[in-house]
């Protein structure tokens, strides 16, 4: 019912005039989620990253070209420039020591310089088991920090991986404000100044600071006087939370907001429809990113354990046509979990273009030869029947699911749709591998993210390991396990690229998962606004907010 009402609403909007935007030294951004905390290291949430990126800077980020760069540090440490050095840890492991220097002008909004004291405090909080800080593995590995002077320090990790100089998750905390709140670590997550005194300028050192935060409603940002970089153009940025996307569109058209953030706004199908109606009045940018839509196959199911059936299932669906018709071709078809924008992407792997003839041949070879009313049966008289599940109410996924169901039926596979609310689907069905056939959802990753937890045989959840791990397909492959072990520690880019290519080849041949596409983020931006460059990865566009300008 809701779907039809939304369609009616969209059609009516087509005929509507567009009202003028607000004054151009202020910007109102619409997003669909409010952060649960403003503490940079507790909870990982996109809404929080989006807002905080305007107020502070991580040491390193991936830029728009997916290259690791310095933002708060002055020089990216590498083995070649000597700022990173191999070290053996006190317990004999192959570790690494990495030196960083904080930008000399970096200063908290209350005038206190950003120093190594803040680095030490952040580390102390991160390592404490009761602090509630996520990214536990990072802090476990970071066993020592040597402060060199006020601005320079050396991090000691007990493991040398190719990501040794990427510390984007190590977000500095202001020791001068928050140290007293950490006196009782257990209650720190409730007492931190980020949530009890959110508008304190001393919490921020980016181009903007938070001036007002009303839970569930909006956040107002104003320029930070101590910002050391290029002066931001806007005098005020308001981030408004409007959870309903139809209302988000109406607010954009009525001038209530100026733009819709791509990171937390419309879905691609909504944006494609919006573009058809109002594309001449806005800039609409699409950036395929690291949200990998796919279908997990439960390999414990005897039907799916047969590789020929898995191959046939992919050949039978026309992913290119689905992307074209439902998403205006804005979401590229995926061939593995590695995005083509990633430098380790392999182009020469096996691909599965739409080929129902090949699907039929493979199913025949797999013994599903007999047909009754179009559906295949094997010699034992068993019906070729599978269940597909996804999150109920997700319109895009449900549409894709229906198209695939009919395409599979055309080659004789009876696929039944059995969707569940997201809470049940993710809370139980997927995590405890209770789905019997196919489970459709998305993974969010980062550039060159090693899929250890999703493909290593040691990460298959079961009752014995209390359902730990995320290898929900139950994929077991000794060659893949070995690759996953060595790929993380290979520093030579050429050698690592080869390992990545092998990994993608195994993935494409074994096909434990049906790759669908990489989801794109649609940015709806007023024509007068320039400087927003979508990244496609986990670091939002707002990290470069000082470059946003009005014409």
């Amino acid at each position: 019912m809701m779907r039809y009402l939304t369609v009616v609403f969209m059609l009516i909007l087509t005929a509507l005039p567009y009202t003028a935007a607000k004054a151009k030294d202020q910007l109102v951004i619409g997003i669909t989620q409010f952060p649960s905390t403003f503490h940079p290291n507790i909870d990982s949430m996109l809404a929080k990253s989006y807002i905080l990126a305007m107020t502070r800077r991580p040491f390193t980020v991936y830029d728009v070209n997916w290259k690791n760069i310095c933002l708060l540090c002055t020089k990216l440490p590498t083995m070649e420039n000597g700022l990173a050095q191999r070290k053996t840890t006190p317990d004999g492991k192959n570790g690494v020591a990495v030196s960083y220097t904080i930008h000399p002008k970096a200063t908290w909004g209350d005038g206190t310089p950003v120093t190594t004291k803040d680095v030490m405090f952040t580390w102390k909080v991160g390592r404490h088991k009761q602090s509630g800080v996520g990214n536990i593995e990072f802090y476990r590995s970071l066993y020592k920090i040597d402060p060199v002077d006020e601005k320079t320090f050396t991090l000691h990790f007990d493991k040398l991986t190719f990501e040794y100089n990427s510390i984007g998750g190590f977000n500095l905390l202001p020791a001068h404000l928050d140290e007293k709140n950490f006196a009782d670590p257990l209650s720190y997550k409730n007492r931190t100044a980020f949530d009890t005194d959110t508008t304190n300028p001393g919490l921020y050192f980016g181009p903007f600071r938070i001036d007002e935060a009303i839970a569930g409603s909006h956040v107002v940002l104003v320029p930070n006087d101590t910002w050391y970089g290029a002066k931001p153009h806007f005098k005020k940025i308001t981030v408004r939370v409007i959870e309903n996307t139809a209302a988000l569109e109406a607010n954009l058209l009525s001038g209530g907001i100026d733009m819709i953030a791509g990171e937390l706004g419309l879905t691609v199908d909504q944006a494609v429809n919006f573009e058809k109606r109002h594309g001449d009045k806005f800039q609409i940018l699409y950036k395929p990113g690291l949200i990998y839509e796919h279908i997990d196959l439960n390999l414990d199911n005897p039907i799916l354990a047969d590789k020929r059936v898995r191959h046939a299932l992919v050949y039978a669906i026309d992913r290119e046509a689905i992307s074209q018709r439902l998403f205006g071709g804005r979401q590229p078809v995926a061939h593995t979990s590695v995005n083509p924008l990633d430098w380790v992407y392999a182009e020469d792997i096996r691909q599965y273009p739409y080929n129902p003839k090949a699907a039929n041949r493979l199913l025949d070879e797999a013994g599903w030869t007999a047909r009754h009313k179009g559906i295949r049966y094997n010699t034992k008289g068993e019906r070729l029947r599978l269940e597909i599940m996804t999150t109920a109410g997700n319109r895009s996924r449900e549409l894709v699911q229906q198209v695939m169901q009919s395409q599979w039926k055309a080659v004789g596979v009876d696929v039944r749709i059995k969707n569940q609310p997201a809470r049940v689907f993710f809370g139980k069905t997927v995590t405890e591998r209770l789905y019997t056939g196919l489970a459709m959802y998305a993974w969010i990753s980062s550039p060159e993210s090693v899929p250890r937890t999703t493909l290593h045989s040691g990460h298959i959840p079961n009752a014995d390991n209390n359902f730990a791990g995320q290898n929900y397909t139950g994929f077991k492959n000794s060659e893949m396990d070995a690759l996953l072990e060595i790929i993380e520690t290979e520093l030579d880019r050429t050698k690592r690229q080869k390992l990545w290519h092998t990994l993608q080849r195994i993935y494409a041949n074994e096909l434990p998962v049906i790759p669908l596409y990489f989801r794109a983020n649609p940015y709806v931006i007023p024509k007068w606004l320039t400087g927003i460059v979508p990244t496609g990865h986990q670091y939002p566009t707002s990290h470069w907010v000082e470059k946003w300008k009005s014409k």
Binding site: V8, S36, I242, E243, A250, N251, R423, T453
Partner: protein, 322 residues
């Protein structure tokens, strides 16, 4: 009177205790906890990290133990922290309650101001064109989906005419003043009022028609009183008794918010708060918000009982406490 008050207080405490356990248990029985949701969104979270986070948030304990901890803390006045808003529960809830009182209180008052006279007039002119017209409007109000109505109001008044804002609050738009605050309330209030006017009109009409058939009304008419004198002076008090019951039940609803309207108009009220806290496994916030709504429903029923006595002298509080 004292017996009535004591009996009602005791009943309310028992109901609240039972409800707190039921709500806590139901939220706890929902599959998946916040950590599960975190894991499925981020393949880098290790099993050890997940176990540690569960321990930290107390999610590794049994539901009974967690409930006992919560109850003992609540009795001592500590209602805990909201996991979703990273703030103590009470300030988070009060701000939503205040917004809801303003929004739903205005629409509730407006709905009654329109519905009660309409229902009375329709009953007085039963089976006439006027009655059919009122009924048609009432049914339209009841049957129009709120989601659609809200969107249509936004399209017409915010997008096409540009007279009113499409949603949010004056604070979110950075404007101040009584008129500005009022402008942001007009569309959500209209949307909610249209939805409830129909229901209240139907109740008032049905109850008044029933009352107007009573013998004592016939007697009043025989005494030569005008129709309005009969209705206002004799029928209205008795006709209001079933309507008061409905209004009392609505009292709790008044504070539990209007999820659909709040979502469409991005209005930070109780409906949205309760929904988000349940979906986000924010036990403390969900519990207190739902218990608050329960307490107000009980309070509304208490006031209804008092109103019955005021409306009908034959009813006594002692009778109601039995």
């Amino acid at each position: 009177m004292a017996r009535f008050l004591f009996s009602r207080f005791l009943q309310s405490v028992i109901v609240l205790l039972v409800m707190s356990f039921v709500i806590y248990g139901l939220i706890g029985l929902m599959p998946g906890d916040p950590i599960d949701l975190m894991i499925t969104a981020d393949p880098k979270i290790t099993a050890m990290d997940a176990a540690h986070l569960r321990e930290l948030y107390g999610l590794d304990e049994s539901i009974i133990k967690r409930y006992v901890y919560w109850l003992s803390a609540a009795i001592s006045g500590d209602f805990g922290f909201s996991r979703l808003y990273a703030q103590p529960v009470l300030p988070v809830m009060w701000s939503a309650v205040l917004n809801t009182i303003i929004l739903l209180g205005s629409s509730f008052a407006l709905a009654l101001l329109i519905a009660l006279p309409l229902g009375i007039v329709a009953a007085m002119r039963a089976r006439t064109c006027l009655d059919y017209g009122v009924n048609m409007l009432a049914f339209a109000g009841i049957s129009i989906p709120q989601f659609w109505l809200a969107l249509m109001l936004i399209i017409v008044f915010a997008v096409v005419l540009g007279w009113l804002p499409a949603g949010g609050t004056a604070a979110a738009a950075g404007v101040e003043g009584f008129w500005e605050n009022g402008r942001y309330l007009i569309l959500p209030v209209i949307s909610l009022t249209i939805a409830s006017v129909g229901t209240h009109t139907r109740y008032m009409r049905a109850s008044m028609i029933e009352t107007l058939r009573q013998d004592y009304i016939r007697t009043a008419r025989a005494k030569g009183l005008s129709e309005w004198q009969v209705v206002i002076g004799h029928a209205l008090r008795n006709a209001m008794i079933p309507v008061v019951t409905v209004i009392a039940l609505d009292f709790g609803y008044l504070f539990s918010g209007a999820l659909m309207t709040e979502t469409i108009f991005s209005y930070p009220g109780m409906g949205k708060l309760i929904f988000d806290s349940i979906m986000g496994n924010d036990f403390n916030l969900a519990l207190i918000a739902l218990l608050f709504a329960t307490a107000l429903t009980l309070c509304g029923n208490f006031l209804a009982d008092v109103a019955y006595v005021a409306l009908d002298r034959r009813i006594s509080l002692a009778e109601l406490s039995e």
